[in-house]
């Protein structure tokens, strides 16, 4: 299956070409990047098609070398493919969002594509070493994107982002070491010697902590608002859209399968963290005066639903987590695209300085309202199915704690609508009477995301059909199948 290595190589090649094309002209890199991103999306669709066509549950590619133990392998199954498609889509959006970058465009787009390649590798990695390598490799381009193209406080934010998430993931590496030395295989899912239950108790947390930081859950989240606010628009889109998903993916792919008993004893705590994140993220979003910070905190709340869904350990819970992640990728991507597009024209993110943008920039306002409705989990849009399933399954697993979740869902509506109320509605502020509406490139990117949001919202079954085989297996392994 050469599509799998192609998923990594296409953006990498684009990345190299983008660097060198910058010598030709300042606009060449973005064209290169767009072509690469679209080609990447094409490859991702090809992977999807070949997976559906062969009706196989997974695609696999093993790198050269005859020693099966030591080779790298790429695997794509129902957990990977939706996230791969999401990454490819957001890759295009991110390129569009950085269309008008003038500062070192070649390097910028190269880093963006490099980031895409690294994230793809995370989702496709078939062995633990490659997984970890890609997991960490993601940090490098992101660090440079935040630090090189970010806003006022980017220097601090870049370092904080790097060190904080690095701290989480080195503990994961310790966990991976513990796994490999026990099961004596680096191939993901190949568990020779079972890990003793007593080991699993701490091993699960060791593996999970890096993922929980990445997601992030309360109280490990404080790197996120800083990184999001300071990152350039494309960086924020990739950060919220795909990087956070690595955490949820890692939990389902690595932490839980390797330490199922550890997970079962940890599940209530993890669910508690998820629930706390839902409410806390929403409350924090409510308290923000900076629009981008608000969106950043809303990510904490949304990913809280994902953590809650994973904690149930059921098939529907896993599906809810996947839906939640795909949805959040689309919605947060759209939100950051909009906020970035606004910032580009106004050079401020202060909510109080806006108002009445529905009048001055009706298209932007309309899409923002749409995004806010999607973000608050309106049925018919992508956020709803994941949240619904999370609550349904969460109720089965954790009972009346879901009251708090419901309260969080309510708060979700509060902060989203407050934002609409203060930014889009009301009398237009005199400061922005001549503001131009959203740029065509951004509009096109936003439409792409909006279509995705509606499609997933109306027919979440399409995602779940992909995830069904692997989720069935994973949930059965936890005893939560059927």
């Amino acid at each position: 299956m050469l599509t799998l290595p192609a998923l990594i190589l296409v953006p990498l090649a684009g990345s190299l070409i983008a660097v060198f094309s910058a010598r030709r002209s300042a606009t060449a890199p973005r064209v290169v990047a767009l072509i690469a991103a679209v080609a990447e999306a094409g490859v991702a669709v090809a992977a999807l098609v070949s997976m559906l066509a062969t009706s196989g549950e997974r695609l696999m590619w093993v790198s050269g070398g005859n020693n099966a133990v030591a080779t790298s392998r790429l695997v794509a199954d129902g957990l990977s493919i939706p996230l791969v498609l999401l990454t490819a889509l957001l890759g295009i959006v991110a390129v569009a969002a950085s269309w008008r970058i003038t500062d070192r465009p070649g390097t910028h787009h190269a880093l963006l594509l490099g980031l895409e390649a690294a994230v793809m590798t995370v989702f496709l990695a078939g062995d633990l070493i490659l997984f970890y390598v890609a997991w960490e490799a993601v940090l490098i381009p992101m660090f440079f994107l935040i630090g090189g193209w970010g806003h006022e406080n980017r220097r601090h934010a870049a370092l904080k982002f790097f060190i904080y998430t690095f701290a989480g993931s080195v503990l994961m590496l310790a966990g991976i070491i513990a796994v490999v030395m026990t099961v004596r295989s680096i191939t993901i899912g190949e568990i020779g010697n079972a890990i003793p239950a007593s080991t699993q108790m701490w091993l699960f947390w060791l593996l999970a902590i890096g993922m929980l930081v990445k997601i992030p859950v309360f109280p490990l989240h404080t790197w996120l608002p800083d990184a999001h606010v300071e990152a350039p628009t494309a960086g924020s889109i990739m950060l919220a859209g795909v990087l956070l998903k690595m955490g949820g993916y890692g939990l389902m792919r690595i932490a839980i399968p390797y330490a199922p008993q550890g997970f079962q004893s940890a599940a209530p705590v993890m669910a508690g963290l998820g629930i706390a994140s839902i409410v806390y993220g929403a409350l924090m979003a409510l308290a923000q005066t900076d629009l981008k910070r608000l969106v950043a905190y809303s990510s904490v709340a949304h990913m809280g639903f994902v953590v809650l869904a994973i904690s149930t350990g059921t098939a529907l819970g896993y599906a809810a987590a996947m839906l939640g992640m795909v949805s959040h990728g689309l919605v947060a991507g759209l939100m950051f695209l909009l906020v970035g597009s606004l910032y580009e024209r106004t050079h401020t993110r202060e909510i109080a300085r806006f108002g009445g943008l529905g009048v001055t920039t009706p298209r932007w306002g309309g899409i923002f309202v749409f995004a806010a409705l999607a973000s608050l989990g309106l049925p018919g849009l992508s956020g709803f199915p994941g949240e619904l399933l999370a609550v349904l399954e969460g109720f089965g697993a954790f009972g009346w704690w879901m009251i708090i979740v419901a309260f969080g869902a309510l708060l979700g509506a509060v902060y989203n609508l407050t934002a609409v109320r203060r930014v889009v509605h009301g009398e237009p502020s005199t400061e922005w009477t001549h503001l131009s509406d959203i740029a065509p490139v951004d509009l096109a990117a936003a439409s792409l995301l909006a279509i995705g949001i509606v499609v997933i919202g109306v027919t979440p079954g399409v995602v779940m059909r992909l995830t069904d085989p692997v989720v069935t297996v994973l949930a059965r392994a936890l005893g939560g199948g059927s």
Binding site: A315, L373, F407, A409, V414, G426, G461
Partner: protein, 603 residues
């Protein structure tokens, strides 16, 4: 007809298509597409009529499934949904036609008609669904449409705030309903309505009560029952036809529909029914008192709607869901008539304040005549529709709880009073306004006439409705009817007596009881209380949490690890004093320490 009977999904699909067309066609073509928009409610109505007696099975499909567990979505038309579809179809048709005139000068008309069509689709989805998931989707979507339509004139800060308030307040109920769904999912393993209602009698008492109450929470939010009613008066910031459609006839009645739909669950819990009965009863009398003093014509109608919905809930609580549905139908007719009438009045008089109106009957004869039909129907005076349905409600409540029934009689008195207070002030007496009113165009008056006919005659539809719902027809209870008519006439007469000569007497009265007046005017202070007890503290709490916990503790701790390490690092680096002799001895000391460690470990 068979097309509609066998393809009920058209009721959803056609409005969605209409909405897309209207939206895509945009501002320039709205002159044409606004008429095209009528197609949406007409289809809904046709599906309802076609499905009245049809027994076509449900059309369901798997919405999502994983590892063999599947959540189905499906739609079907039965008696209950047919009634709702017809109500939605008829009222929405009238509202769309009315809006062509009413909104003629608004430049965002395309958005308006598109939203109306989407609303129709969502409402049809809500009433036709065979699964609680689909129902909930429709439920939330009508809420979203309501949000967007209340905030249609979003430049107005009050409209924007009202929209948000409406959405959030109903969302409080919705999250309760979501929990109800979760509970039922856990208890029955399905969200299919037929499965749940089938399993309802076998549910544990506690589960049934909790499930019923949680569903009622959703219903109370949508149907503006105390204490979740606070959004409805504010919702009058939206265009008046919207109020007629969404906030009088259809969406707010969805709560009643939900309980009727899930009746077996409520049937399984006596406790839940009692709660519904008393919340409904209290809401009926409470909202009626408030309606008596409002000066904004739409606010009066809003509180009136809350009160009438309270009547319906009381009937539900009393176990007579048929009566509740009957009242829902008649109420939809006469209340949408009154709302559209008020729209016509506002259109003509350019104000909403009834103190600035007066004597409008002379300038707006059609509006006045149809309004009076609506008011009489609302007051419950025979032979207009309100009399029959209210009689059914009162009879059933009397049967369940005489105390509640007596409260409802008092509410009926107040209903007649405020209905004719408004009628007197607006249409009779001397003109107090500044502008010269004029009658509205045909596209506005024609719907009024149609609705007036319905409001007058629907009372005789009681038996067919009951039959369609699969219930025994009600027999008119003369004792109840007698008392009911008596209190209605009493209310009517006192209102006319008090207001026929303008505001003089009434203002003297309100000065004498100024405290009470202020209390009533402010809706018994519920709004302020909610603001002070729930909303403001949450926002303050969020702000404090951000400053103290997020920034000062968590983030400071994170940064503290960094600065702390740097501090330690500085200290450690300062150990490098640069003294050569110290360095030299450090080598020897290091050896001694190492030797000590080795000996200590090896001891």
């Amino acid at each position: 007809m068979t097309l509609f009977a066998s393809n009920p999904w058209l009721a959803v699909a056609v409005p969605v298509f209409v909405a897309l067309v209207v939206a895509v066609a945009g501002k320039r073509l709205v002159g044409m597409t606004q008429w095209f928009a009528v197609l949406a409610p007409v289809t809904a109505g046709m599906v309802g009529i076609a499905g009245w007696n049809s027994t076509a099975g449900p059309q369901s499909t798997s919405w999502l499934s994983q590892a063999g567990t599947s959540i189905e979505t499906g739609i079907a038309v039965d008696g209950l949904s047919a009634i709702m579809l017809i109500v939605v179809g008829v009222v929405a048709t009238m509202v769309v036609v009315f809006s062509v005139g009413y909104m003629a000068h608004d430049e965002s008309r395309a958005r308006y008609f598109a939203l109306l069509a989407i609303f129709t689709a969502a409402m049809c989805l809500l009433v036709m669904s065979t699964s609680l998931v689909t129902l909930f989707i429709g439920w939330e979507l009508v809420g979203a449409c309501s949000y967007l339509l209340i905030g249609f004139w979003y430049r107005k800060a009050s409209a924007a705030s009202a929209a948000m308030k409406a959405f959030l307040t109903t969302r409080v109920g919705d999250v309760g309903m979501l929990l109800g769904l979760a509970l039922l999912w856990k208890a029955t393993g399905s969200l299919d309505i037929a499965v749940i209602t089938g399993a309802a009698p076998g549910l544990a008492a506690g589960t049934a009560t909790l499930a019923a109450l949680l569903l009622f929470m959703g219903a109370a939010g949508k149907s503006a029952q105390f204490p979740l009613h606070i959004w409805l008066p504010d919702a009058m910031e939206g265009p008046t036809p919207v109020s007629a459609l969404i906030h009088a006839a259809t969406m707010v009645a969805a709560g009643v529909f939900l309980i009727a739909r899930m009746w077996p669950v409520f049937d399984a819990s006596e406790a839940a029914r009692t709660v519904v009965l008393w919340i409904g009863t209290f809401t009926a009398i409470f909202a009626a008192t408030v309606a008596c003093v409002q000066t904004d014509i739409k606010k009066v109608l809003a509180y009136s709607t809350i009160s009438q919905l309270g009547f319906m809930f009381a009937a539900l609580g009393a176990g007579a869901w048929g009566a509740a549905m009957f009242h829902l139908v008649t109420h939809a007719a006469f209340k949408s008539l009154l709302f559209l009438g008020s729209g016509s009045v506002i259109h003509g008089a350019k104000t909403q304040d009834i103190r600035e109106m007066g004597g409008l009957a002379r300038f707006m004869p059609v509006t006045a005549a149809t309004w009076i039909v609506g008011a009489v129907a609302l007051a419950g005076i025979p032979p207009l529709s309100g009399f029959f349905s209210k009689d059914a409600v009162l009879a059933s409540v009397l049967h369940a709880s005489p105390l509640a029934a007596s409260v409802l009689f008092a509410a009926s008195l107040l209903t007649a009073f405020y209905a004719f207070r408004v009628t007197s002030l607006v249409f009779f007496g001397k003109g107090r306004g500044t502008t010269v009113a004029h009658e509205s165009p045909l596209s506005m008056t024609a719907p009024l006439v149609v609705l007036a006919v319905l409001a007058a005659t629907l009372g005789f539809m009681g038996d067919p409705i009951m039959t369609a719902l699969g219930l025994e027809p009600e027999i008119l209870s003369f004792a109840v009817a007698g008392v009911s008519v008596m209190v209605a006439v009493l209310g009517l007469c006192s209102a006319c007596a008090l207001y026929v000569n303008g505001l003089g007497q009434a203002s003297r009265l309100s000065e004498r009881f100024s405290a009470l007046h202020r209390l009533l005017l402010g809706g018994w202070g519920v709004d302020a209380l909610v603001q002070r007890v729930f909303i403001a503290p949450v926002i303050r709490f969020a702000g404090a949490l951000y400053v103290w916990l997020d920034r000062l503790i968590i983030d400071r701790a994170v940064e503290g690890v960094g600065t702390g390490s740097q501090f330690i690092g500085r200290f450690m680096a300062n150990l490098q004093s640069g003294e050569t002799d110290v360095y030299a001895s450090l080598a020897a000391v290091g050896f001694i320490v190492l030797m000590g460690i080795v000996l200590w470990i090896g001891r």
